[in-house]
Symmetry: C2
Subunit: 230 residues, 2 copies
Amino acid sequence: MTIKLYELAGRDPARPFSPHCWKVRMALAHKGLDFEAIPVGFTAIPRIEGGATTIVPLLRDGEKLVADSFDIAQYLEQVYPDRPSLFKGEGGLAMARLIERWSQQTIHPQIGASMLVDILNLLGGDDARYFRENRETRYGRKLEEVVAGRESRLGEFRKSLEPLRDMLNYQPFIGGASPLFSDYIVFGAFQFARIVTPFGFLEDDDVIAAWFDRCLQLHGGAGLTVGAAS
Amino acid sequence: MTIKLYELAGRDPARPFSPHCWKVRMALAHKGLDFEAIPVGFTAIPRIEGGATTIVPLLRDGEKLVADSFDIAQYLEQVYPDRPSLFKGEGGLAMARLIERWSQQTIHPQIGASMLVDILNLLGGDDARYFRENRETRYGRKLEEVVAGRESRLGEFRKSLEPLRDMLNYQPFIGGASPLFSDYIVFGAFQFARIVTPFGFLEDDDVIAAWFDRCLQLHGGAGLTVGAAS
């Protein structure tokens, strides 16, 4: 039975952009598992699978439903142990959680705030209204005001990536010689940016940009199936 | 043959304080390996083991000499595979590098700059002169000027620890249910602070302080063999 992946989509169902869904896409590709992608708008999430979830990605594998990208990766690792490992051991599984929290607390707030209007522009009707209202409540300001001055915040953002940049002096992937789920966690954030906006978060000659390019090439170019925003 | 650990010391050889040496002390305790600690002042490092190193920790295990805390941990893992693992797999070894770089780029610059005068006060004669000159060249200012206003930087410092704090909502150690070398990497930084200065970097009710206390209790209280600065 084919695995189904419910993932966030805007008006164009062929351009999934959610960072967390991309983590799962890469994890599935890493495991060599085929899947059927089912695009879902923000406001349709509560209706999928009979109200099974309030968040996507949601994975259906036979009788099993799993939500949350990290939980999905753990599920795939347990259920498909003979396929390439996503964590390479118990230590890798545990440490991936700190790397996830680092990505979430360091990269996401800055990328997310700078792309609010770009994201809005990808959404239609109800989803666009929901997104503006939800995010303006969260930030306490108009989306346009949150985004304003994003160029001036780039220096600080790039500096905040120094641990990742420095690590790349030692090894080509967070997972070492080859990528693991921890790479896909951080990849998801930059893939989100690549698909949503032409705004350049990284300098071209940044070693992080080279790492991101290596990730895009993985698994037959799984990350390249959706083009960059223009 | 007993393992020898050359480690940085100030005037009081019974109060080793170097964060990197503490990482190794904890790694040795984790592996259940006895060792002889050999305190070395800053200016004596180039003379130990016939000029074998410019940095400590330096470990001698029989004929083998290994410098650098991460290299020592990898060495111990390879040579003592039947003792408790420091990385729990290839993934844990790889991801520990990003966690090391995070600790080094996020925690160390802030802790280090705030304790320059406290460190100076632990050093005698030549070491104190070396330390002041070396660090004032590095920072381009008097040590006292670098330290000044450390209270005002506490808020930003504590905020920068959010990934670690957030991770502790999921598991008690960076290594998961029990500690790994990645915990000792971060522990080393806070143990450095605990031994060098009474200045409080963490609020008492911070979950990171609770994690640090758990680390202090490990391996028969190995981290408590040196008392807190008063």
